[in-house]
Symmetry: D2
Subunit: 448 residues, 4 copies
């Protein structure tokens, strides 16, 4: 099979530069948070179909019951109206409505070869973007139009990379073999969306899976082949329901949900450390009570556990539930909870990491290649996809492309050097051209 | 000195009945909560001046620095606009603006005799009124127009009683001696307003002081001459300020305000019981944290202590502050607090109670007279006024006029039998006619 | 029926004075704590039988399963040996052995009349007596021989009163009617013993019941006819059992009993105050853990609840168990508890109080008579007996005979003015002579 | 310089085997815990002096004020008596008395070369040894004679290794250069003793330092050249002192030390996890309160913090003290604490590890050589010595010699395969013979 040369790739991607900038800034300007990426997803789907991909959206790629942390129906409805007002492509909206904002594009080359999948994420954060003059998006007029939503993590760039790659692959098709699959996932923030695409079967036929992130503390020009620092995590929304009473007149008639929440918060943070790796616990939000002179009858907690391995996180979650149930019993109140997010930890496939390391060293714009980065950091939804791929015998990794940042991820002045967009597209395309390599052949399913 | 007979009083008050109903329902319909009783106070002042009383309002009767729990400036400003829209009497508004909503009316008979003062309260609760058909104010169209504000304690009735009494006294003036003083206080709910009127000197010349409440669990036709169950209380708003940190990436960099609030809540409720009388503690509201994955950097508590005596409450407050300071120190966070309300406990003057008991027995509509009711219940701002009066050698009591209630005080379907309005006015007037009695002569100041 | 005059009583009791002093100091010198009053009970039984009473001891008057807080078998066995060494009357010991140290003496006059019962208590406290020179028992050589046991509450005096009364009654028999019953109970401290005598049926035939205490804050010369301040109480011994683990090597393998106990202690003290009367909670002892570097696998609590009424105490106990169970569940540890003591609150019978008040006023040595004392104080085992008597239609009260104290009850320098002994004996005998009064006739059983 | 061959070493050590067994079992039989190793230290000193070493003991090698966790004077005195009874060498006792149980032996070869030091520890654990038949020391009659003290960690073996090495070195002297220093330290358990030897200057002239441990989870035949898993740690003894009160009569008069300890325990365990490495916290012992019905006036905690680095542990300790002070303030009680133990984490010198790895591979009895073991485990007093050596430019490491164990370290049935004794002695001697190697030359002081 013929390959095209790297200089050719550079030329091809350079031709896309104006379009990349336009896309990135348009998505940034119309930031949409998890499960309401109606405008973004419709534009992505329209472009992919226009390019000739077989496009699936909505419930075809999202398992309804596996979604986590979906907003209330009114919020979804208002967001759909806003998307329509802001130029969403109408014909895709019926399928996306209600929080089914995933898009999958496939292209079969007709030649034998692996199914190669890329994951990018679509959603913005719940954050108010800075309007300060020293924040470029504000100064240049592409800061978020949408109050309380901001692309402060770089997913606007990821979506752009996905579309740029889609265009480039059309040109490269004669040189590719097997199948190309581009996965645009909703609701990565809060690790809420990947499970629904996994459960819909989107990953089941994937042989080689690459998720990417720009930035995350890596220098410009440096590429990480396999990021292995993501912590397994569980997000829980908890409600304690007690009995109100007048705190002066008959306090003994109450069952105090606030005290249950206080006991629980202490108990949760006191869950023992784990000797086999990092663990985390945080009660991030606690709201309890209605009035100063009323025994509080309701309390709500937003909490999360994490673990360096999924096993550690599972143990943290089990203990957290013991604590929550016990705290409720102490005060004679009821406790209910819902899963608001969940991610695995998942190691990159060593053979894929090794392959990438060998093939990308020395590419233009790449000064340094790190094979595996182990430093524990946050959590990442793509791990759920990686796990499914590896369990079924495929190879999976998570790459990081360094870039200069104006401020850290999740900061209201986050911005990135857009040079990372063509670099990432070129590098991923370069790998696609070599994906039918014996070193990457499918193997027996793994037990992770 | 001549007196008029009770049958005359009944006739005179019956003539007021349509006006009483109109007032009560108008005030109910335009419920205004503490410190924003702009419309109510302006109507009260206008009526009192029209009747010939010497009227003082605003800073003349409210000491600015002694007010507690005053809303934010924007809230005050919006409420003033609303009052204007809803028919406030414009000429009083400049003096009332900014939260100075007290009104005092005086009438000097020119004859020797005591200064006799009545206290009524003007404010509504922060509560959404029921719109159900079985709630009479909703059915008959006088439920509160103002979202989140409701006369659910009966202060609309109290204000009506104050105005009815004012009208009646004009007729009775030939039969009265000494001075009459009608005190309309703001912000009784949360025990926030009385102190500012006491510090403005409003009570300093009062010889006989009667505060009244309708309802409070007493049967229709029953009158309590001296309610002695009010608990001394302190209301505190507390803020813990810590340091945020990413709960996954570097939890050790945070100082957790939520955990400080949790420790404090447990410590507060664990303050020891007091052997010399009832005590109470309640953390009614706790709000902490901003996001699930952030170490919470802020927490706010609304709490209250109570005591059967002021001494007990003082001890509760002292311990509460120890707990709050210690909890902050445990987590390395800062703690600040403000006094959001305060009331004394104060016993009614025994001689005044005895006098009232003797003189009202057998009046029309009064089936039963209870001299002193000791059952601990909530707290009451008037106790601060009672204490000042007694400290300066006057007599003071707190009377309760029973009535049928549709639902308990502070319930969103609270309503009362309006028959209590004329009964209360007649009874209070009856006492006024006999106030120049040797048994009620001023004595040496008391140490309470 | 003839009565003897008060002067006669005085003469008769004065003749006993040397014996009273001898008894009191002997019992004080040989202090025996609850359930091990082997020497004391044997001497009491021997004297009563010698006087001609029908004496019952051991399991005849103690229901084995209803005993609470009985020491371990080794402790019982050692105490029996010590009692033997210190002059116990051998022939009673087999029946008393193992913690059955109650004695009941009965005398039937053969004449119609009520069964009149007196309750005295035998046990000392677990306390080391002062050896200071300003402590009379030390100075005069009758301080406790037994380490860690001291009559610091006055039960040595009570036992003396019981024996003195027994002797006096023998002289008075011609003047008495009905039946006399003298009840010497073990283990009043910790409210552990009365229930076992009640369940053995000792109180079932009693018409008039009088329990007595000397001291308790009442002045010398003052007598309380009905003490009503005893709080209902429940004593619980609690054990949390978790799983140990090395705190450095694998803390996650442990289940932490110490943290369960800490959570429980806070939750217990935070049980809401009760609006209908005084309540109390105390975790008096907490011992947890075995070594600094081991996750604690065991924790033990000694706690008590109290209530001004038995209903309040029952609610406290119910909540305490919720807290304990919940705290265990939070940490995944087991919780077991045992009842270590229990007393009711029980009001004295008003008619008996009134009768006593009328009959003792003006007796020699009595300066002041208080009908009912309501001030909440500690708890008292006799209330369980009082309740049984009143439930079956009898009359019951709890009298207090004031005396000067060297230091408060339960203090290691406690001592009392022995003048109270003859005064109490005379007064109780005086009442016995008048017990067949129509005012004290048995009535229908009460529901308390 | 000449060296002797490994076969020679084997022969020489084999000759010592009966003596090694005798020593080990004698020390095991006469287990002495930290600071009371009077018998053990006297026997060690006597043997070393007999062999010709220059021996220093007591305050010459122990800085009095730097000792931690020293028992009370009575305990020290009783232990000295017991040591005397059990055959301690009398002439050393005066210097050792009072808890100065360190021994240092030096031998200067007179030839240029490094000062090579070995650290072994002398103390037993506070643990009751098993008397079960399947426990070899019990079955063969060398289980501990001393109640509550047991060599359950292997220090009896370490002391034996130290003496065996001392004997062997005498034979090897012609082949050695520089100086040999044998350091026998007291009170390693609880990490209490090393600091006092460091502060006495014992380590200041050491160029190469090797501490050793047998067992610790490593297979027989496996040797770890540099154990790097020891956690820095701080041991604190904490006392809360409040005010007692009768829990029924006047609970408000108390200041509750038990609740302070409970709040503290929860707060301590809730100290945030550290993102840069493992941390630990354990409240291992909590004892509070004196009686069920008394507000607890005293509480005592034994706790420890640990950290993968000394910096992490320092932060844990700082937060722990905040928690303790704050908890005391919450309850109005006093808090005092004392340092009961302390150890650093300290990495082995890489060049020394590399050297050892290269030189011991293939020695008889060594099947496997692990260069560095990173798994976090407990803490180790020798790290304080290692740090001093490295700070002054020397090299230091911590070696582990695997062996079969009957039960884990600190278990009451701990026992080890005594084959590890000659293996360790041979290996350490083998290294000594090569210590004057350029690779091990002293370098500039390090900042650790």
């Amino acid at each position: 099979m013929s390959t095209i040369t790297t200089p050719d790739l550079k030329t091809a991607v350079d031709a896309l530069l104006p379009q990349l900038k336009t896309w990135r800034r348009d998505f940034h300007h119309h930031a949409e948070s998890g499960w309401v990426e109606f405008r973004t997803a419709s534009i992505v789907a329209e472009e992919l179909e226009r390019l000739g991909y077989r496009v699936s959206v909505g419930r075809d790629v999202i398992d309804a019951d596996s979604r986590m942390g979906v907003p209330e129906p009114e919020v979804l409805a208002q967001a759909l109206d806003r998307a329509r007002d802001q130029g969403a492509v109408e014909r895709w909206l019926p399928a996306l409505a209600g929080g089914y904002t995933g898009v999958v594009a496939e292209w079969d080359t007709g030649r034998a070869g692996p199914t190669l999948a890329y994951r990018v994420d679509l959603d913005a954060l719940d954050l108010e973007e800075s309007r300060a003059d020293d924040h470029r998006p504000a100064r240049e007029g592409f800061a978020s139009r949408n109050a309380g939503m901001m692309h402060a993590c770089g997913h606007d760039g990821h979506t752009t990379i996905g579309l740029g790659l889609a265009r480039l692959f059309v040109e490269l098709m004669p040189h590719l073999s097997g199948r190309i699959k581009l996965i645009f996932q909703p609701a990565e923030e809060g690790v809420r969306g990947a499970r629904s695409m996994v459960e819909a079967g989107v990953l089941d036929d994937v042989d080689i899976f690459i998720a990417t992130h720009i930035g995350t503390g890596v220098d410009k020009g440096t590429v990480v082949c396999g990021h292995n620092g993501y912590l397994a995590t569980t997000k829980l929304d908890v409600t304690f329901t007690g009995v109100p009473a007048h705190a002066g007149a008959n306090p003994e008639a109450g069952n105090n949900a606030l005290l249950a929440a206080a006991q629980a918060s202490l108990g949760l943070h006191a869950i023992p450390r784990h000797s086999t790796g990092a663990s985390r616990i945080n009660v991030g939000v606690l709201n309890a009570g209605s009035g100063r002179n009323v025994v509080p009858a309701a309390a709500r907690l937003k909490l999360e556990t994490r673990g360096e391995t999924s096993q550690i996180n599972d143990e943290m979650q089990r203990r957290a539930l013991d604590v929550l149930r016990g705290a409720a019993a102490m005060q004679g109140v009821e406790m209910t909870y819902s899963l608001a997010g969940e991610a695995r930890n998942c190691e990159p496939s060593p053979s894929l990491v090794e392959f990438i390391q060998a093939r990308i060293a020395g590419l233009p714009g790449i000064d340094s290649v790190i094979p595996v980065e182990n430093r524990p950091s946050g959590s990442e939804d793509a791990t759920t996809m990686m796990q499914r791929v590896r369990e079924r015998g495929g190879l999976a990794t998570y790459m990081v492309f360094g870039t200069d940042l104006a401020a850290g991820h999740h900061h209201q002045r986050f911005d990135f050097d857009e040079d990372v967009l063509p670099l990432t597209i070129r590098t991923l395309a370069h790998l696609a051209l070599q994906a039918d390599d014996p070193a990457l052949r499918r193997r027996r399913p793994e037990t992770l």
